[in-house]
Structures are given as C-alpha cells and as structure tokens.
Amino acid sequence: MSQSYNRGLIEDFGRWREFSAGMWAWIFHKFTGWVLVGYLFTHIAVLSTALAGDAAYTNTIQTLESLLLVRILEVGLLAVAVFHILNGMRLLMVDLGIGLEAQDKSFYASLILTGAITVASVPTFIAGAF
C-alpha cells in the first residue's frame, strides 16, 4: 500500500457551513435529545425532594419557580422539547417512508413551528414569576 494522508477531524469540523438540511436536523435532534435526557435526570432529582416530606418539596419547587433564570431555562427546555418532538415525528414519518422528498421542508417546518410555539408560550411560562 502506498502512503496516504488523512486529513483528520479538523477539516470535518470546519465543514458545518456546507451541511445540508438533513445533517442539521440530525445534529439538532442529537443535541435536543441529550438536553432532554439531562433534564430527565435533573427533573427526577428535583422531584425526589418529595421523599423528604411535604414542606421540603413544595418549598423547593416554589423557590425554583420564583427564579427568573429557571423560568427562562424552562422556555429553553420547551423549545428543545418541541423541536425534538416535531423533528421526532418527522423522523417517524421518514422511517415509514412517507414524504421523503419533502424531508428538508419538513425540517424547516419543524424549526419554524418550534419558534412559533415557544414564543407563544412565553407569557404562560413567565406568568407569576414577578
């Protein structure tokens, strides 16, 4: 075998600008998935304060919910969850072989819908934080 030169990872990372819709969808889905698992663990951890009794739980939740930062993070979480759900549905369709030609459009649609839903739910999420 002749020698060869492997261009390595550095180049690959520089390629994101050339990614196409399907690749972005993949990256976003991965990212949102990971965020969601992370949240699932934290969520259960927070909830398990209930084991320490009535007051402890109510107290923790109320304190957390009164923080603006937590509310903002929750909006972020919603965005992440909504995108993951919408794109997840897109992926389920793809798995069923439905609408493959429109895969890029459905990705854009997921993005736009996620934005819309997130913005629309901001009032509800922020309500009572002040």
Partner: protein, 125 residues
C-alpha cells in the same frame, strides 16, 4: 478489512423500540406539558396537588410508564449515538452498564417519589 457479516445479531429491536417509545412519548409528553404548565401553572405546584393526582391509579400508572419509556428512549438514544461514533470493545461494555445502572437508579428514584405522593408504602424503601 470489512468482514462478511455472518453472526446473527439483529440491531433492529432497539431501533424499533426507540420508535415505539417515541410515538408513545409524543402523546404523553404533550399531555404532561399541558397539564403542568397550562392547566396548572408552574408556580402553583405543591405537594398536595401532586399527591392528589398521584392517588389516581390511572394517572399513577401512566406516569410510571412515562418514566420508563422516557428513560429507555433517552438512554438508548444516547447509547446509539455513542455507537454511531464508533464506540466498541471494552469501552462500550463499560458505558453500556453505566447507562443501565443510571437508568435503574433513575427509575427507582422516580418510583419512590411517585409512591411518596400516592402514599404507597408497600415497597421496602
């Protein structure tokens, strides 16, 4: 060298369950969000309210199922992602068991919390 893939180790089952749990999660997660952010507002959450809901067997079972599917879906997703990046050998076995243990802890902790609300004390912990 690409070997000829001969031993029969279907990877399809996890794939299929990932989809089935996903389909289930769409519904339950939407319900969950709706219930806890839109019907009841986040700042209104108290132990008593949670308790009240959990005392309904239907809600209790749904939440347990929700927990299990979400855990499976999430952890399996993470595991898949790692395999896709070429994780193999001992490393892979270690990560696999770490993930399984983490999932078990998560589920146990979740069930204990739910029990605390529902007032169930049959379980030893």
């Amino acid at each position: 060298m690409a070997e000829r893939y001969s031993s029969f180790r279907p990877g399809g089952r996890r794939w299929l369950w990932q989809r089935i749990t996903a389909a289930f999660l769409v519904v339950v997660l939407a319900f969950h969000f709706f219930l806890l952010h839109f019907i009841y507002h986040a700042d209104e959450v108290t132990f008593a309210l949670s308790s009240a809901r959990m005392e309904s067997w239907a809600y209790y079972s749904l939440m347990i199922l929700f927990l299990v599917t979400a855990t499976f879906h999430g952890v399996n997703g993470v595991y898949n992602a790692l395999i896709n990046q070429g994780l193999k050998g001992t490393k892979r076995t270690i990560i696999k068991w770490t993930l399984i243990v983490a999932s078990v802890i998560l589920i146990v902790q979740g069930v204990r919390t739910a029990n605390a609300w529902a007032g169930i004390t049959i379980l030893p912990f």
